[in-house]
Symmetry: C2
Subunit: 114 residues, 2 copies
DNA sequence: TTTGGATACCTAAAAATCTTAGGTATATTG
DNA sequence: CAATATACCTAAGATTTTTAGGTATCCAAA
């Protein structure tokens, strides 16, 4: 698995995008889904995920609904209208980030006179 | 310009890659090069860059040489052997990160029975 | 000539984010 | 019945970055 350093700053983006795609997910489900989809290469820690979900809720981008399953509680999250907008703009920013990284990592050769 | 949140964790990678490509650069030059190459979309702050360069030096990945230009001092940085290896492995990690993000953002549809 | 902007380095406090390392409880499987 | 998986949570510490300075030289324009 790659260094987690690169993940910094992308966690919110991932969560917002997944909720946009799936409609509703609960925290543990997100960790499992990401692990599965990335073929084990990306493992979200709960210590990062849960505070992020709470923060998104406080910011009004997601809303939570508790649901009882057997005797256990699940907290399903879904996007608010503001959350949908945030998800879209985050994804647009991510695309731009990729473009910029590409420009820096694969530079157009500057005129070098040769 | 996109939110800097996405940049978190990529600064070292960028610096190592640029030094690998260019051979030697000084701090201010790095900020200007990145700004130019990204068409103004990415601006590295000096408060982040200089401490990062110092840290890379302490880790033995880069070495600095002071050079007088007029009455002003420049500190040119270049990769050590360990730095070259770090640059390569960082870039490999970054590629893997991109792949993983792609898998999460553009998921292969799971059998949904429809 | 002096003022402002560019060049060129630096640091420290604060904010933001994540890891580590727990805690609690239920469900399932060997 | 013990271990693993499911499912939530928090807090201390580490790391990284922003913000907001500081110092000094160079050059061009007013």
């Amino acid at each position: 698995m790659f260094s987690k350093e690169l993940l910094k700053g992308t966690l919110k983006t991932i969560v917002l995008k997944l909720l946009a795609d799936k409609g509703r997910m609960y925290g543990y489900e997100i960790t499992q889904y990401v692990k599965m989809q990335s073929e084990g290469r990306l493992v979200l820690t709960e210590g990062a995920l849960y505070p992020t979900l709470h923060k998104l809720e406080k910011e009004g981008l997601v809303r939570a609904e508790r649901q009882q399953v057997g005797k256990r509680m699940r907290k399903y999250y879904h996007l608010t209208l503001a959350g949908e907008k945030a998800s879209n703009s985050r994804m647009a920013e991510f695309e731009e980030f990729l473009q910029v990284m590409h420009l820096i990592i694969h530079p157009k050769p500057q005129g070098d006179g040769s």
